[in-house]
Amino acid sequence: MKQIALYGKGGIGKSTTSANLSAALSLAGYNILQIGCDPKRDSTRMLMAGRLIPTVMDQVRERGATGVTPADVVYTGFNGVRCVEAGGPEPGVGCAGRGIIATFQLLEKFGTLTGDVIVYDVLGDVVCGGFAMPMREGYAQEVYLVTSGELMSLYAANNICKAIERLSARPKSRCRLAGVICNAKNQPKEEELVAEFAHRVNSHLVQFIPRDRVVQLAELNRKTVIEYEPASAQAQRYRDLATRIMENTRMTIPTPLEIDELEALAIEFM
């Protein structure tokens, strides 16, 4: 079983990328579980025909932890992809990080964490220990950074490198950086910039995904690009991403950059 996690700045396209990746992998014949690890809970929406599925934390809130069953939290979407949303507290109260930890413990207890590939789609920044959970305890061993060529997006990706570096130093840790996915904003020289960033943090660019209107059209139709326009060039990019991820063996401990190095890099490719 392959367990991968997608991390990156909020709004960069993690959920879109994750959902299309899961869809492509499932069409390639793999048994897929996608877990949204963000209180915003919209990771799996395009796999579920636009439906916001009940979250694990919703169920816990309503029924209590002992009253929840696997059927309450696992929903089958496009082409048999199993979907889970961790959910979390209402904005502004409680501790969302602890919610992620509790979700993982429940899923573990249910025996849900099975299949050929588990895709963890994790919120913007690793703001506390709870959001590092997918990288710990041997869950996701391969972390993919999703970033554009914008400085703030690279900055967030670089911060996640710091988390991976820290966690990978722990005994028995199997968490590694598996690669960088460029979800482009269509800036000039964006692919070169992100490839160079990946190289500098001791990793590699796995896939360049250009900005394409078909993504928005698919979303308005509540579908992944894979489902909505399978013949499009964009769908082929997601299938290429799926193939490369399945073939990828290059797992590294990242070497995060200092902020001025990062800035210099961005200026170099302006």
Binding site: M57, V60, R61, G64, A65, G88, P89, E90, V93, G94, C95, A96, R98, G99, A102
Partner: protein, 346 residues
């Protein structure tokens, strides 16, 4: 962000803010204290308060209620649990409710003050007590006393004296109180309220009636300052320590109250001499102090006694006990000297 540095040597003496506050609020006899946190914070403190009172020959079941925070409350926020618990406690109609926070409640950022502010009819007083914010046991004591003082308002003076911040968890609390009462009586003064020991909620209102506050020890000075600023009541910073403390104490109290203390001081000096005469048989005995006094004040009190009685401290001397807190007043010294005599004749 909390900018207080953590005290050094934390585990030995600084303790938990929550426990300090509980040592105060559980002595408001008709009130209930709600501890907003996991059950363990309450259980642990209940056991400690109960066991300590047993050691002092009192059987008490501290009136504590836990909000019993669970993992679910941590994830979704614990304000609901606090709200429910407060309603249950209000239904029991206590004189007041004190709400003490814990590390976990402050970590997840529950707005304890907001929840308490929605309750009416019974005073609901918030005491901030999250231990990890760098406060010590004493911070908890002081926070609780200051929060409770908020229940008092300006009242007509009665010329009496408050005792502030008795250490409810130490030995000899009531003996020390009796000694201070004796000294006050020498000056014709009487005690208004013991703030806080075995105090009814409705008595807190008379806090401001006193002409003087006597603090248990200088760590309560922030409380003394607060009361002085709020009600204009002057304070004496500490109980009298050791053989030499009582005369100075009489003079300070008399000075603060503007009364003549010549006769009281004369009587006190006579009592001091009488005490030394009573233990004159110890003169010349070789002793060693065991354990060494934990603070300079205790050390000074022991050295004073050694000198006044003509004892000799040497490493081969017979070990005599030194209490953790220094003896209060002449009667405290007498109790200590009885123990020394027993040790020397053992």
């Amino acid at each position: 962000m909390n900018l207080r540095p953590l005290p050094s040597n934390l585990c030995r003496s600084a303790g938990c803010t929550l426990t300090g506050a509980l040592s105060v609020t559980t002595h408001v006899c008709d009130a209930i204290t709600v501890v907003h946190g996991p059950q363990g914070c309450t259980h642990h403190n209940f056991s400690l308060l109960h066991a300590t009172s047993l050691d002092n020959d009192r059987v008490s079941l501290p009136p504590l209620v836990s909000t019993g925070l669970s993992e679910t409350d941590v994830i979704f926020g614990g304000e609901g649990a606090l709200d429910r618990t407060l309603d249950e406690v209000i239904a029991r109609d206590p004189g007041a409710i004190f709400v003490l926070s814990t590390c976990i409640a402050d970590t997840i950022g529950d707005d304890v003050g907001m929840v308490c502010g929605t309750k009416a009819g019974i005073p609901v007083i918030v005491v901030p007590t999250a231990g990890f914010l760098g406060g010590s046991f004493q911070t908890g004591v002081n926070n609780a006393l200051i929060a409770l003082a908020g229940m008092a308002g300006p009242v007509e003076g009665n010329g009496r004296v408050n005792i502030i911040g008795e250490k409810n968890l130490e030995y000899e609390v009531d003996e020390n109180f009796a000694e201070v009462s004796r000294l006050l009586a020498l000056l014709g003064l009487s005690v208004n309220i013991r703030f806080v020991r075995d105090l009814a909620t409705d008595r807190i209102a008379s806090l401001a009636a006193a002409r003087l506050n006597v603090l248990r020890d200088p760590s309560l000075i922030p409380v003394g300052e607060f009361l002085q600023e709020r009600f204009g009541t002057p304070y004496i910073p500490a109980y009298p320590v050791g053989l030499s403390g009582t005369v100075g104490f009489l003079e300070s109290v008399a000075g603060a109250c503007g009364i003549d203390c010549h006769r009281a001081v004369r009587e006190e000096r006579a009592l001091r001499q009488e005490t030394l005469d009573d233990f004159a048989d110890l003169a010349g005995a070789g002793i060693s102090l065991s354990p060494l006094p934990p603070d300079p004040e205790g050390s000074r009190a022991a050295q004073d006694l050694v000198q006044a009685l003509g004892l000799e401290v040497r490493s081969s001397g017979r070990p005599v006990p030194v209490p953790v807190t220094p003896p209060i007043g002449i009667t405290g010294v007498r109790r200590l000297l009885h123990r020394w005599r027993r040790a020397l004749h053992a």
